[in-house]
Structure formats: C-alpha cells, structure tokens
Amino acid sequence: MISRLVDKPPSLLKRGGGLYLHIPFCGSICSYCHFNRIAEHDNNLRKQFTESVIKELKLRVDNLPLSTIYVGGGTPSQLEPELLIEILASVRSLYKVIDDVEITCEANPESFTAELVEIWKSAGVNRISLGVQSLDQGVLNALGRQCNPETARAALQLATSSFSNVSADWILAPGCNVDQLKSAFNEAAELGVKHISFYILELHDKTKLSDRILTGELKMMQNDSIAELYKAGVEILEQQGFQQYEVSNFAISGYESKHNSAYWQRVPYIGIGPGASGFDGERRYTNKAGIKHWISCIQSGEFPEDFVDYPCEKSQKLEQLFLGLRTKAGVSLELFDNVESLEQGATIGLWEINKHNLVLTLDGMLQIDAIEEHLAGQLG
C-alpha cells in the first residue's frame, strides 16, 4: 500500500466538485440495513467523531471550490445539530464554497424536529433527503423502521414547509402494492416534495430481514411482481411530474440531485468520515469503515484510508459504462468496440441507441446488473 504518512494524496478538486460527509449514527438498526452505521453511541463518541471529521477536513484540504455538500449516513439527524454546525463551519473556513452551493442533509422522520430545522437552516442546509421509505405501517414494520406513517407525514410536512428542495426515499418492499404507491406518491407531490428516490429492496446477508426470509417467516416478492410494481411506480411518479433521470432517482425538472449526478459523471468528490469514498479524477480511496479505526488513524495524523487505487484506462471505461448506464443520459457509444453488436439489445427493447449514446429503457434498467456484465465484455 502507498505510504500515507508522508505523502499527502494528490489535490482533489481539480475541476471543483463535491464533498460527502458520513455520519454513521442511527437510533436503531433497520432490518434490511447493510450500511456503515452504529446504534451504540453517546455524546462523548459523537464529540470525538466531530473533532476527527474536522481533522480529516484539514488533512484533505484543497483550494478548489465545492459546489455540493452531502451529509449522509447513518442518520445525520442523530448528530447534535450544534456539532453539525461546527463541522459545516469548518468546511467553510477550510474550503472555498461556491455561492449557490447545494447542501443536502439526510434525516429520518422520527428525529427530524423543528428545532433541528432551525439550526440546519442557519448553517446553510438547503436540501433535505427524508428517509420515509413507506407510508404503510405493515411495510415500515417489515423494514424495522422506527417511525410510523403519522410521524413520517409530519416530517414531510415540516420539511416541505421549511425547505424548497425536499427529497424523500421510498422502498419497494414486501407488502407494497400499486394502490399504496399511488396514494403515497400523490401525497408527497401534493406536499411539495421535489425529488423521490425509489429503490427496490435489496437483500443482504446477515441482516435481520434476510434471516426472516431464510426461515420462511417473511416472503420476498417474485422477480416478475417486483418488475411490475417498479414499472407501475415509475409511471405514477411520471404522472406526478417526477422525471426519471437515474435508475432510482426521479425529480421535478430542475430539482435533480447535483451531488449524486456528480458521482455518475465521474466528477471529483472528497469523502469524509468512516467508510466514505473520494475521487480526485485519478485516484479513488475508501476510508476505514470502523469508526474507532478511523478516529485513531486521524488522531495520529494519518490518512484514514483503507483502500486506494488509480483506475487504469480500461477500468475508467468500465466505470464510465456502469455509471452511465444508470442515467438517462446513457453511455457514450465511443466506449464500445463494435457498435453493430449492440443492435440486438436495442431490437428487443433493453436499450435505445441515439446519435451518440446507448440509453437503457425501463426494461433494461430492471436488468442493469446483467447488462453491465454483458456490456463490460463489449468495451473497446
């Protein structure tokens, strides 16, 4: 591994870019969760964490402008808002931040309070991503979420009345049906939600949910019905004016997430916090995931990286491929060896080929994993 004690990683923000900040704290652990988060934490640890974040910000300081800041988790609303203010203040003092910066904070409904809203707003947060996931008690139970539909509704209301740019996460999970999605998306739209992330539930090993499914306690949906529901969901969203711009992201025009779009376009971003990843256009890194390891590295002045690589030309193409496939902009045809061999997929409706790009259809997006693998073999 590269010696990180003496060498500072090369300058990140060559073209300007994003900053991702990972807050690993949660109130409790959801049944399906495989993210990097912990439920056991106290004020002491959170303070130590904040201190380390500020140190990492210093370690990675760079003088190119930030156009987006994304505070994700875990659950950022579990962090004392005063601590978040401290962090954001450091960002502003250490980095150049452009005037109309997009600052997103993720929050879970049960910890999203009027007090928090006030403080976040004062710190410049201007976009909220609310982890609603569902407005159905049964689905929320299966997911092991802490909130109930009422809390979720209240949080949505609070968010939309305080912020002009609100996104909500929705999951397609066992117990979902078309009617449910229809009324939920209608409600969100009426409240003024501008962006929806609509995902298909993924099962991960060693989660409570996958255990329950393995023991037969809960039934996972069949692929066909998932596909049907997903398509129906997309249709409902589009009727409400949410345009799909990525596999699982939908927005009222003009409200697309700038931060996430940067990932797909391979724009540089700094990652701060345990398990966070960063990219400077050439070098990719991923931080140590364990909060204790991450803290102790930073405290001894080391870069807390677990993994670093410099994708070669082939690897870069591969990234362009699978990132591009996720988006409605698609993938440049220049990436492929032989454009003629792409015709078959177009004929059977997995993708469309326009003048410059290959763009997945909805059917294609439902098979994106298999298509990625297939097209990876066709790269020039």
Partner: protein, 608 residues
C-alpha cells in the same frame, strides 16, 4: 544383420550403440531406469521413475515425447569393460520421427513387448523401421512380474513376427530389475560394435537438435567416421553453413564436456548458432578444412499433418504468443506456424503439428510455460485444391476453402491405418472404419487370437474421433498406427456455422458431402450444450453454401431484477465487474455472443 564395410578399430570394439523401441507404455523408459542403475550411471539420489523423461509434461503424462540419449559404462560378467550408448525413444505415433532419427545412430535395438498386451501396432511399425535401418533386434518380453503376464503366448507372437528362436527372447521385469543384466550382456554379444575409420575426414549424422538459451543450438550426433576436437570449425554439408564447435561432449543425465569425439561415438556439438534450424536434423557434419566427400543419407523431414488456428483469448497477448511460438520452435522444428486472421477471433496463427497429441502438448506448453490463454480451433488436415483455373493450392484453414463454383477438385490426405485387435472385435472395427470412409486393405491373423487390419482412411476422419471410437468398441484392446500415403480426391465441402446469422469462420469445417447433414445437426446440438445462456437468445445454424441444414438456439437468460442505489464507493463495484470479467477469461466475444473455448473443439465431441 548389418553389413559392415568399414573395419572396427581401437576402442570402438568396446562400444555398443542401441535404442529401446516399443509400443506406447510397454516400459521402455522404466527399462532404461534399470539399466542406468545396473551400470551405476546414476547414483541413488539422481534416480527417479522414468528419469530420462526430463520434461515436466513427460513426467506428468507418464509418456516419452523426445528421444533421450545417455552413455553408460558396463563391466560385463566376462570382466571386459564396455561403453554403452542408450537412446530411449517415444512410443506414441505422433513422435514416430523421433524413433526413426534415433535408429540411425545405433547398431542395435531392444524391442520391448508387454507380457500382458503382447504385440501392438507400434511394436510392428517400430520393428519395421529398425529393420529398414539394418539394426540387430533384441526381443524382450517385459512386465513378467505382472500376474496376468503370458510370456509363452507373447513368445509365440514374437517368434512368428521375427522368425527368431524362442531362446533368443529375453524375459525381464523393468519394475523389479529381474533379467536386466542379461539384456546388457545380450547387447554386448549380439549388437555389433560400430565401425568407421577414425582417421578419415569427419562424417557425423545430426540425429537430433535442441536449443539451449545459454549455449545456443546443440547438435546431437553420431560420429560415423573421423573425429572432432573442441574448437574445430565444422561444415554442414546440406545447409553449407559453418560454425565453430564451441563445446563437444557426451551425455549423462546432463551434458558432459569432452575434448574429442571419434568414430562410433554418440555425443553433442554446441555451435552457438541462434536457431536450431541452422543445424538441421539429418544434416551431415564434417570439418571445414578437411571435408568428407559424400554426405549421409539423412531423413525425410517430419511434415505437419494436423493444423489448428491458435488465437489469444485476449488480443493483447498476440505478440506474446508469437514470441512463445518462436521460442518453442527453436526446440521443435516439427512445429510450423504462420500468421492468420479470423473475422471472429482476430489475429492468430495457423499451426501445424505431427498429430493431435503433439497439438495438445503444444497448447499446454504455450499456456503453462508462457502464461497465455488460447483458443484452438478444430484441428484439420491439409487439403489440395485444384481450381477451375488450373491453379492448385494447399488449404490448411477451412475458412479459406474456395467456393464450390471455383473448385475443380479437392484432394485430402489418406493414411494407411493398421489396427491390431482381438479377433472378436473385427466386426465393430471394420464398421467404424467403413463409416469413416475407410477401405479395408488387409486382414492378417497375428496368432489365433489377434488380427492386424489395415485400412486406407482419410486422415481427417482419423483426427476427429477414430481413436476414441476404436478404443471404445474394442474395450481398449485395439492399438492403432498410421502413416501418410497420398492425397486423394473426394466430394468435400465446407460446412459453415452461423451464430445469430453470421458465419463464424473459426467454426467452419470441411466434411464429406455424404455426412455433412448429420454433422451439421450434431454440431448445432453440441454447440447448444456448450454455449451458456446469456443476455440474448443465440441462434445457431449450420449451412452448406447458402443452404441451412440444421438450426437450434440457446434461450436468453435473465438475471434477477435489481435497481439498486449506491453512493460513492465506485471502486468496489468496478472490482466486482472486473472479477466477473476475469471469470470469463476463456470466453471469446463474437458479436454480442460469448463463446467458450471448448466450443471451437465441439466437433471433436460429436457422437457418430
């Protein structure tokens, strides 16, 4: 018996040069082991099973691929001291030429016959070769330690074959060592000492050559007359080239440097030449400043019989493959290759081999020793095509076969195949041979139980599956040997395979019109089995010209539905895809279809 024109002089009367010949696996190399032990040539920690089989592949497969010479000192029971040069030879038919080369360096041959299996096809053929060279034959029945050994029965067979007395046949177990000293005594008594005038101008036969990266090309020689000293300037009579004999010597397990080699001896001459082709096997070595007049007869060059396209799976390995072929050819002049291009597979090489085993071994060596990943196309033979224009060409790649309208006549190589089989399988053996367009030439009882059948049969049929089929219909009891006779005209056509409507040149093959239809069907079926399900349906068709004779398809395979979201950890995702890609290393992308390497050999597995 050899006819001796030249007188035996000096130490030469104590020399004996002989080789061990036999059918495959009858125990030549194991017998050589025992001889090396009895003569104390190798000490205990040098000893291992089939010690002369020094290549990794020889050890792994338990077969001899190259001839191996080694020199031994032997004190006979009479008290006299002798120098014995032994050459162990391969038994497999692909390496026949190795045997014939070695014979020319010897005055005698030990013919080993397995006490259980008795006389087999290569026993007879190698014997005839040895007789052509006028060698003294010492018949030996090996493996007498085996419970199933039938020495009396095998003795009868040998007596019939050689016309010798039963007492002349030695009984031995190369495993236990029983009877081995007696063989060495027989060598001394029966094999004539070499002859040749040490004072005459140097005349030496190159019976083998190898390339050593440190010393350059090395000639293995038998000195027929005269002598050579280290540092002499040598002249090669056929090629006209001259080299300095940088190093000379003879063979133990490794080369042993000496100052002089003289008439009757077997040894080596290191020339520093950069390429073995500069010191051709069969050429005659003489001295630049004291040339002999007549060159030795030499050999007919071993010609490749079987051809296959070798392509790197990853096009980036093209140059590496060319380098590797160049290097391997340094040591194996019987390998030929030339560049070719396939629409489906990209750039590669059409390689020529002595037979299927030779091909298999080359592929394995290239992949292992040079870390390459190859696709080999279906092996085929060399066709002689006369066009309507009168022009005649040799076609080694089915894809290059001219269209039927251009062709006047196509000729294909025929071989004489001899099959030795227990009499009860005569029926099935004849049937599979006739099914493969063979014609029966001869049927001869070797004894009451076994028959020697001879067929003229197209080599192309033999190459495909004849041997496997023969083994299966005779429960493994038949043995096969073949030799090229001539090219004969036949109603031969090209069968194209189309994947998703496009002909894949690398899958094309040439077949007889009468079997083209069945072939097409079977091939499609086999390809369907071998091509994994993928994103799209894969249509497979076989056609003759524009007429489709068979079709099938591989259904599309849809993976689980997923549409997940992830944040910035793009490396992990990429690594996963790279891993999946690496997992498909042996797949070749043709259009939008991934074809596994085995598919190109599918025809070999077609049942008939």
């Amino acid at each position: 018996m050899a006819v001796h024109f030249l007188k035996t002089t000096g130490a030469m009367k104590d020399f004996r040069n002989f080789c061990i010949i036999a059918h495959i696996d009858h125990g030549k190399s194991t017998l050589a082991d025992r001889m090396l032990e009895v003569t104390g040539t190798l000490d205990r920690n040098q000893m291992q099973e089939q010690v002369l089989d020094s290549m990794d592949l020889e050890k792994e497969r338990g077969i001899t691929i190259k001839s191996h010479p080694i020199r031994m000192n032997f004190d006979s029971a009479s008290g006299a001291k002798f120098v014995l040069n032994l050459i162990d030879t391969p038994g497999h038919v692909d390496f026949h030429y190795e045997v014939s080369r070695s014979l020319a360096a010897c005055e005698g041959a030990i013919l080993v016959v397995d006490a259980v299996q008795g006389i087999q096809a290569q026993t007879i053929n190698n014997l005839y070769l040895a007789m052509e060279h006028d060698l003294e034959i010492i018949p030996v029945i090996n493996k007498i330690d085996l419970p199933a050994a039938r020495p009396e029965y095998v003795t009868e067979q040998i007596v019939d074959l050689l016309g010798c007395e039963p007492e002349e046949i030695l009984h031995v177990s190369a495993k236990t060592g029983e009877g081995v000293p007696e063989i060495l005594e027989a060598v001394i008594e029966r094999v004539p000492a070499p002859e040749g005038n040490s004072d005459a101008p140097l005349k030496a036969l190159i019976f083998d050559s190898i390339f050593d990266p440190f010393v350059g090309a090395i000639a293995y020689v038998r000195i027929m007359q005269g002598a050579i000293n280290k540092g002499d300037m040598i002249h090669l009579m056929q090629s006209g080239m001259e080299h300095e004999a940088n190093e000379i010597g003879w063979f133990r397990l490794t080369r042993v440097k000496k100052k002089i080699l003289s008439a009757g001896e077997v040894g080596y001459i290191a020339t520093g030449a950069k390429d073995v082709r500069h010191i051709r096997v069969g050429d005659t070595v003489t001295l630049a400043d004291n040339k002999c007049i007549e060159p030795l007869k030499g050999y007919v060059e071993a010609k490749p019989m079987v051809f296959s396209g070798f392509y790197p799976v990853d096009n980036d390995q093209y140059n590496d493959l060319q380098d590797a072929l160049t290097k391997i050819q340094l040591n194996d002049a019987s390998l030929t290759w030339e560049k070719e291009k396939s629409a489906a597979l990209g750039f590669g090489f059409r390689c020529g081999f002595l037979g299927l085993l030779h091909m298999e071994i080359m592929q394995e060596r290239l992949e292992r020793e040079y870390d390459l990943n190859l696709i080999a196309t279906l092996p085929n033979v060399e066709y002689e095509v006369t066009k309507k224009t009168g022009e005649t060409l040799l076609v080694e790649n089915p894809a290059l076969m001219p269209t039927p309208s251009e062709v006047e006549v196509v000729r294909e190589p025929f071989v004489k195949a001899s099959v030795i089989t227990p009499a009860e399988y005569i029926g099935p053996v004849i049937k599979i041979s006739l099914d493969r367009r063979g014609t029966q030439r001869k049927m001869e009882y070797i004894d009451t139980e076994r028959v020697n059948l001879e067929f003229d049969i197209p080599l192309s049929e033999l190459v495909v599956d004849y041997y496997d089929k023969l083994k299966s219909v005779t429960k493994g009891y038949a043995s096969l040997d073949y030799e090229y006779i001539e090219h004969r005209a036949g109603d031969l056509i090209k069968l194209d395979i189309l994947i998703n409507g496009d002909p894949v040149d690398a899958l094309a093959c040439i077949t007889h019109r009468s079997s083209a239809h069945d072939w097409g069907l079977e091939l499609c079926r086999k390809l369907k089995e071998l091509i994994p399900r993928q994103m799209f349906q894969v249509a497979i068709q076989a056609s003759i010209g524009s007429k489709v004779v068979a079709r099938t398809s591989v259904k599309a395979f849809r993976k689980n539905v997923t549409a997940k979201c992830y944040g910035g950890d793009i490396s992990r995702k990429r690594k996963l895809l790279e891993k999946q890609k690496a997992g498909k290393k042996r797949m070749k992308q043709i259009g939008s279809v991934e074809i596994p390497q085995e598919a190109f050999m599918a025809v070999l597995k077609v049942e008939r």
